[in-house]
């Protein structure tokens, strides 16, 4: 196991590569998903507000 993490002496180069790749993946996922959620919330808010207003205006 220690040998696996040692990476033939190149641990300082191999693991940061994989670590950064993980960061990029997580970063892209996090940013995209939070943005999608935020937009969904905004759409819901605007639509409920419009539905609330409609009966008053229609009557």
């Amino acid at each position: 196991m220690a040998e696996f993490f040692y990476m033939g002496g190149y641990a300082a180069f191999v693991w940061p590569s994989y670590g950064l790749a993980a960061l990029v993946f997580i970063g892209v996922i996090w940013q995209s998903v939070t943005d999608l959620r935020a937009q969904k919330r905004l759409v819901d808010k605007l639509e409920t507000r419009r539905r609330d207003r409609k009966p008053e205006g229609g009557a």
Binding site: V14, S17, V24, Q31, L36, V43
Partner: protein, 246 residues
Amino acid sequence: MLTASQRLQAFANPTRFMALSGRLVAPLGVLTAVVMAAGLYFALFASPPDYQQGETVRIMYIHVPSAWLSLFVYSVMAVSSGVALVFRHPIADVCAKAAAPIGAAFTFLALVTGSLWGEPMWGTWWVWDARLTSVLILFFIYLGYMALRATIDDPHAATRPAAVLALVGFVNVPIIHYSVNWWNTLHQPASVFRMDGPTVASSMLVPLMTLAIGFTLFFFVMLLVRMRAEVLRRRVRAMSLRRAEG
């Protein structure tokens, strides 16, 4: 101003897109996770170290798929920009906009992993090697595209300029690559830095291909998610504008 039918079409397409993409994201996401897990297993456990590069070859399993994505994503951007420009297809414009940050992120990853691979192989963090240099310039083009998008608030006003920029970049990337290649051979004998390294052994091919497919799938899943967010953002914008108008 848009005619009634154009407005209808512009509304209908994103609606159909939202319905379709909503069904696609989850299964595609699961598939991506499976392929990525298999790829990482091959890359870290089930492949031998290279006889010349030792364990550093494992950096290549990240580096090469990232570099592939940096070019592939740009091609996706260029094609959808062309469609957005010629056919005025709103989803194509959304696609180009959503793809750019993913492309930039993987171009950045390709640059840094290239640097991390270069230090043990060449003894320096950065060489003005033909490939590193042209990928760096591609990164600048991505950033420029994103900056242009960010400065124009109205998404419809941004469509044309952004599409033109993406297409001009698409024409220029091969020219830039060629010029940098020429410049590189002029200043450094090609034999000093061997970028290609040893011929790719079949033991490397399995992790490389699996991860390349995994990265590409990941791009498509994230592209769908980002496009959905962008469609909703435009809907929010249209709705609040309509409310503001009264």
